[in-house]
């Protein structure tokens, strides 16, 4: 379980994340949704110790992220932010291999190699594994990054906008993959998602943020409701039930 208490971050006078206390359940997919500037990405960065908090604390299975050694955390929790600019010219295979760094420190064992091939296969990158990242499309690159994070084989997988740059087919493939990781491998997946329909379809738990605070949280059935969504996004959102799934319509 990830427990955050009173997590805060401000830039100058503006509080980007303002005293967020949450308990993210272990297992399943948790999606963090909310309008632009709600502090979702900043919050995720603080949970994963990429960014220092001004106040508050975060524990992951009892480990305080600010105090636990980076090396230990790297085997528990992995994070992928959005907009990754990589200047290093690496092949897909090299990149994914570095997901094993926390375990092997660069000397890959047979077990590491199994993980690497699996991750590359999961993300449908086998044909591209020898290509350099700068020769790939945005979507292919995004899949390579996710493959690296999966290769890290951590209990907690945190992804900021993993569907960025992905076409419909790969976006769905990505969500199905994360679902499998959660159900079959028992991973806890925490996502920042913009597409509330993807969140509705695949999440087990949804946290909505607004103005740096938690606006609402709960299982899909409690969250994907016109009155909840409309107040979060300050717009008119209708929710239809189609084949047992709640689909929001907000196009005009």
């Amino acid at each position: 379980m990830i427990i955050t208490s009173d997590v805060s971050k401000s830039y100058g006078e503006t509080a980007v994340v303002d005293g967020v206390s949450l308990q993210l359940p272990k297992g399943g997919i948790t999606s963090i949704i909310g309008p632009n500037g709600a502090g979702k990405s900043t919050f995720l960065s603080m949970i994963s110790r990429l960014m220092a908090m001004d106040k508050g604390s975060v524990t992951v299975d009892g480990l305080d992220v600010a105090k636990t050694s980076g090396d230990v955390l790297a085997r528990r929790l992995s994070i992928l932010r959005q907009d990754n600019h990589m200047t290093a010219r690496l092949t897909v295979h090299d990149l994914v291999s570095f997901g094993r760094y926390p375990y092997s420190k660069g000397r890959l064992t047979a077990n590491d190699k199994v993980h690497i091939e699996e991750a590359i296969g999961y993300l449908d990158l086998t044909a591209l594994s020898g290509r350099f990242l700068d020769e790939l499309s945005g979507g292919q690159r995004q899949r390579a990054f996710v493959a690296m994070v999966l290769c890290q084989d951590t209990d907690y997988v945190l992804l900021d906008e993993p569907l960025n740059n992905l076409d419909m087919k790969h976006a769905m493939g990505m969500m199905k993959l994360l679902q499998r990781a959660a159900t079959e491998l028992g991973k806890t997946v925490v996502l920042v998602l913009h597409d509330i329909n993807f969140a509705s379809w695949y999440s087990d738990y949804i946290v909505a943020m607004k103005h740096g605070r938690v606006a609402a949280q709960g299982p899909v059935a409690d969250m994907i409701k016109p009155e909840v969504l409309s107040s979060i996004y300050e717009m008119d959102i209708k929710v239809h039930e189609i084949g047992g799934q709640r689909i929001s319509v907000y196009y005009g």
Binding site: L50, G70, H85, M86, R89, D94, F98, F132, Q152
Partner: protein
Amino acid sequence: MRILLLAFVGTLILACISLFVGVSDVSLPALLSGTADARAVEIFFISRVPRTFALMLAGASMAIAGLVMQMVVRNRFVEPSTAGTSESAALGFLVVTLLAPEWPLMAKMGVSALFALGGTALFLRILKAVPLRDVLLVPLVGIMLGGVIGALTAFIAYRSNLMASLLAWNMGDFSGVLRGRYELLWLGLGCGVLAYIAADRFTVAGMGKDFTTNLGLNYRRVMVLGLVIVSVVSAVVLVSVGSIPFLGLIVPNLVSLVVGDNMRRTVPWVAVGGAGFVLACDIVGRLIRFPYEIPIAVVMGVVGSAVFLYLLLRTQRHAG
């Protein structure tokens, strides 16, 4: 692997040529058959062999230093001479030469390395304060910083009648290499080996701070290790043979185009390429107006700026 072997053999051949180019007549058959006169043998072991070693050591370690710097700064176009590092090393060497002329060379080199480290830290500090969108502006800032530090150094040297020495430090030249006056360069190779041992860390650092943290490494620590390596190599090369511009830029960039940036794979390439490139430039410098010599810094500057231009234009095309 086969190509790397080929490059290695090519470098060895260049090394052999380098052994037998010069004003004094030293020939391989004479050396082997023992018919060479004592003077030729002496020249061979006191001047030619050290010079060839010095070329390879300086070339390999400067190229590796450039590679490490490009990874930790995450910019293709930085190297010790485009980041204020070499100029700071020269300033440090000048200061210690003025204040403590009796210190052994090793200690002077240490001071020079500390200055190099300080100058590079200042460069990174400036980069942090002025976030630059364009990758090409980063080395420009470094060159400007180097210019300011260089001007300060020149001023001090001018006031203390050390202009000639300063010129020698800034203009890499292997003609003065003799046995007993180049051995410090082995320390540079030691730094290169250290860089190879830590290669995976540097590759991870090259992926950026977030990736580094995610993989459980302390970004700052990797960065400091890298900059220490770069500073020591710059200082060692500066005090032994004088600074060699562009080398750390050209070789890693060309290697990157072919084999990428996974340092575990590229360090041997860069080392061999650096050694070979320096050997080739030195041989050209020795032959072009034989029996006189052109300092390697001049040859390297001409060849290097051409390759640098090519790389720049290539980047622009890719960006557009």
